[in-house]
């Protein structure tokens, strides 16, 4: 679990790509790949390939033939005794065309059918003694794909970018209102507006963090927009001091008054979210960025919302929790049309677990409270934390596998 935003160097590459001063990287073009159909046309006789996994040599993946004519081909996978192998893929140029997972000795054989043009492919059995084997399809090469999964995924990244832009626009509006309340010295109005301004950043944060302002060193938190907007007390950098939402939260909910410092913090926050708004307009995402972003939002839930650290003074953690989940679900939703072509079972599993988490969150709704959720007090945290964290755990593991899928899609 990535505990500290300040230490989020894991996303360094992404951060570098998004750095304000740097030219934004283009979405890499997918290599042209062979057309692959998930199912054979009915009435056509598919060529048969049997793949057998055994424990020989610490895990062996053998094919009964490694050359078949072009056309529909059915691959039937049987794990006879290979305890170390759980997965088989048919790949071309490092792109997955078809695969089977959760293979284990004793389970019934499973199969997938693809329509392949002539060319050399590979059968990839992660961890096998013969991990990568050539598989030759004779006959004419298939025409280059016009659309395919890559195009569908790319379309999703554009849609997601629009979503992020919309979220940040809405944040600027909500923070402006909060700032108006604070400038007016209206504590009660500011305390009501605070939770209403919070969810936007939490919906998109993993996709918009990592911006370093021009002229600042990458390790200087005073140039780190995410630090300036959303840093919690538990991860403060003494050299940079406290800025942003949670410093304001402290004044409103712990201090119980609006001071000149509060007003300065609020004005600074408004400037910084407006800066973020301009930066976001130029972001481009690769499909795996959406997947990694969704996974990172769930890490946020587990690290900071479950613990009640995020909204330590106001206890509005469940608003942020729901926003993180919503943001993750949106990112996944934009990948979903492509993911359905890649791995329907995993797509269904992720959808089911999202539904379970959202249904659970619904049980904590209370529309009489600003933001719409019960307060996440220490008592609520102690009684409900394990239930909430387990529901998210069941979503985290399958979701963590999406990035690899979309990064290797045709």
């Amino acid at each position: 679990m990535l505990q500290s935003k300040a230490s989020r160097r894991y996303y360094g590459q992404m951060g570098a790509k998004l750095a304000v001063a740097a030219a934004l990287a283009q979405v890499p073009l997918r290599a042209g790949a062979m057309q692959a159909d998930a199912t054979a046309e009915s009435g056509t006789t598919a060529a048969q390939v049997a793949i057998t996994l055994t424990s020989d040599n610490g895990g062996t993946c053998s094919l009964d033939t490694n050359s078949v004519p072009a056309g529909p081909i059915t691959f039937t996978v049987t794990n006879v005794s290979a305890t170390s192998l759980t997965e088989v893929e048919l790949i071309s140029n490092n792109r997955i065309l078809g695969e089977k997972e959760n293979l284990a000795p004793g389970l019934p054989a499973v199969s997938f059918t693809l329509t392949l043009g002539g060319g050399t492919y590979q059968i990839y059995c992660p961890g096998a003694s013969d991990e990568m084997q050539d598989f030759v399809v004779t006959g004419e090469a298939a025409p280059k794909a016009e659309g395919g999964v890559t195009a569908v995924l790319e379309e999703g990244t554009v849609g997601y970018k629009n979503y992020v832009v919309g979220v940040i626009d809405a944040m600027v509006t909500a923070v402006s209102t909060l700032n108006d309340n604070i400038v007016a010295g209206d504590l009660e109005a500011a305390k009501i507006q605070y939770p209403l301004a919070r969810p936007f950043y939490e919906r998109a944060e993993s996709s918009v963090e990592g911006f370093v302002m021009e002229g600042f060193d990458a390790t200087d938190n005073l140039g780190n927009l995410d630090y300036l907007i959303d840093m919690r007390e538990s991860n403060l950098d003494p050299d940079a001091g406290w800025h942003g939402f949670h410093a304001i939260e402290r004044d409103l909910f712990e201090g119980g008054e609006i001071t000149d410092d509060t007003k300065a913090l609020s004005a600074e926050l408004l400037v910084n979210v407006q800066l973020l708004q301009t930066v976001v307009a130029d972001i481009e995402f690769a499909p795996e960025d959406l997947a990694n972003g969704a996974a990172a939002l769930l890490e946020e839930v587990q690290a900071n919302k479950i613990t009640g650290e995020e909204e330590a003074y106001s206890h509005y953690d469940l608003i942020d929790f729901a926003a993180n989940v919503e943001g993750a679900q949106q990112a996944f939703a934009f990948l979903e049309p492509g993911m359905e072509m890649i791995d329907q079972a995993l797509t269904d599993q992720v959808n089911t677990e999202f539904e379970n988490v959202l249904a659970l969150l619904k049980t904590y709704r209370d529309d009489s409270i600003p933001g719409g959720y019960i307060l996440y007090t220490p008592e609520v945290r102690d009684s409900e934390g394990p239930t909430l964290s387990k529901a998210v755990q069941l979503l985290q593991e399958p979701l963590a596998r999406i990035a690899e899928k979309v990064a290797t899609a045709v």
Partner: protein, 424 residues
């Protein structure tokens, strides 16, 4: 564990006495519970026989034609026990979970990773978490249990339910806490290296989530065996008493009291696992005079001999009285109430471990016994515990706070998986 530590333990054919192992661990400086080792090693090393030596390179096969490993297997030094709640209503998910667990356990017990630790693709997450890399098999056994809810109409398995599997009845002195009781699946991972055992449980818990079939419920880390297997010197529980002197060790007793040998054939060599988390009132126990402690157990603390005898394995003379006509072994003592002589000849296999959870909310040491028993009829456990819970002198110092029951199917054969027959 340092390179030196693991390297020397992995040296082929190099057997280590417990003392040798513990000194090795102390020099490595990172093995848990060094304090216990450091304090106990010199004396115990002198008492333990050669048969108790630890060889971390040993591995115990998972596949077989009889019972699962980890029941009659001589007890390893450490145990991580975990139960799971099912999170699926799909029969196929349960099937895939048991098959993937079986394959993974087969890997783990020979000291292999369950999959790629550092996948070739940079966007991929690892299959194995990696912390057991370079560690020896350490006699790891992983024993899987199926709780009553597995055998439900939801999974189309109601008709496969082992005849005597059911929730345990409420028993005298039960002080059960829901959060550390029950479960639909159980994993008992025992090894001579605690990191090997923990790695196994952690990775199996991950597979549960990857398949969407189950999620963790409760867990206990057992750090020292508190019952003897065949050929082992009787170890001590945290009360300082030898535990398991009269435990089941002979094949005839296993056949009579532990293994199922009737009912559906796929259940033969299965057994019922009963688990109880027994908290000890450590501070109060430590200020109780040893004479009273001896009376409570019915044995001498150091020698383990019954109060009517001189040696550990002397048969207790429950009818013996002193000059004043009082029973030498108190009628409410622990060994008398638990003895087969007073329980219709019934014996159960005990395979417990000491545990600690740190310091509790009241400032007491939070520790006790993870009691694990195996029997071919859960009613046998209930008969013993009904008597103990009602009258045992020890009850002043202990509380049963967690409880669960599971059917433990026989081992799968290579190419198959646990309880496969019930799906076919």
């Amino acid at each position: 564990m340092s390179k030196n530590g693991s390297g020397s333990q992995n040296a082929p054919g190099r057997e280590m006495s417990r003392r040798g192992l513990l000194l090795g661990a102390a020099s490595a400086g990172s093995m848990a519970f060094d304090w216990r080792a450091a304090a106990a090693a010199p004396a115990v090393a002198n008492l333990e026989g050669e048969e108790d030596a630890i060889d971390l390179t040993q591995s115990i096969p998972f596949y077989g034609t009889g019972e699962q490993a980890g029941i009659s297997t001589p007890m390893q030094r450490h145990c991580v026990y975990m139960t799971f709640d099912l999170t699926t209503t799909l029969r196929s998910n349960l099937q895939v979970l048991l098959a993937r667990w079986s394959a993974a356990i087969a890997q783990l017990t020979v000291g292999e990773a369950i999959g790629q630790i550092e996948p070739t693709r940079e966007t991929a997450v690892g299959s194995d978490t990696g912390e057991a890399l370079d560690l020896a098999p350490a006699s790891l056994t992983v024993t899987v249990g199926l709780g009553p809810n597995v055998f439900s109409d939801t999974f189309g398995l109601a008709e496969q339910c082992p005849p005597l599997l059911r929730e345990l009845v409420s028993l005298p002195s039960d002080r059960m806490v829901a959060d550390i009781s029950g479960g639909d699946l159980s994993i008992q991972a025992c090894a001579d290296d605690p990191q090997v055992a923990y790695h196994a449980v952690r990775n199996l818990a991950r597979i549960a989530k990857i398949t969407g079939a189950a999620i963790t419920r409760w867990t206990v880390l057992g750090f020292g065996r508190a019952s003897a297997g065949k050929g082992q010197v009787t170890p001590r529980n945290l009360m300082g008493y030898k535990d398991g002197t009269r435990n089941i060790t002979e094949p005839e007793d296993f056949d009579q009291f532990v293994w199922l040998n009737s009912g559906p054939e796929w259940q033969h060599k299965g057994t019922y696992q009963v688990v109880r988390k027994i908290q000890m009132n450590i501070e109060n126990w430590d200020v109780d005079p040893v004479s009273d402690q001896n009376r409570i157990f019915g044995r001498h603390k150091v020698s383990g001999a019954p109060l009517t005898g001189a040696e550990e394995f002397d048969t207790p003379e429950f009818d013996q009285t002193d000059e004043s006509g009082q029973a030498v072994i108190d009628p409410a003592s622990h060994i008398r109430l638990a003895s087969f002589e007073h329980n219709e000849g019934v014996k159960i296999l005990r395979r417990g471990y000491n545990y600690t959870d740190g310091i509790n909310q009241y400032g007491f040491l939070d520790a006790g016994l993870l009691f694990i028993s195996y029997q071919n009829d859960p009613a046998n456990f209930e008969m013993l515990q009904r008597k103990l819970g009602a009258s045992d002198l020890l009850n002043e110092y202990i509380a049963h706070i967690g409880s669960a029951i599971f059917f433990v199917p026989p081992a799968p054969q290579e190419g198959g998986y646990l309880a496969q027959a019930m799906f076919e």
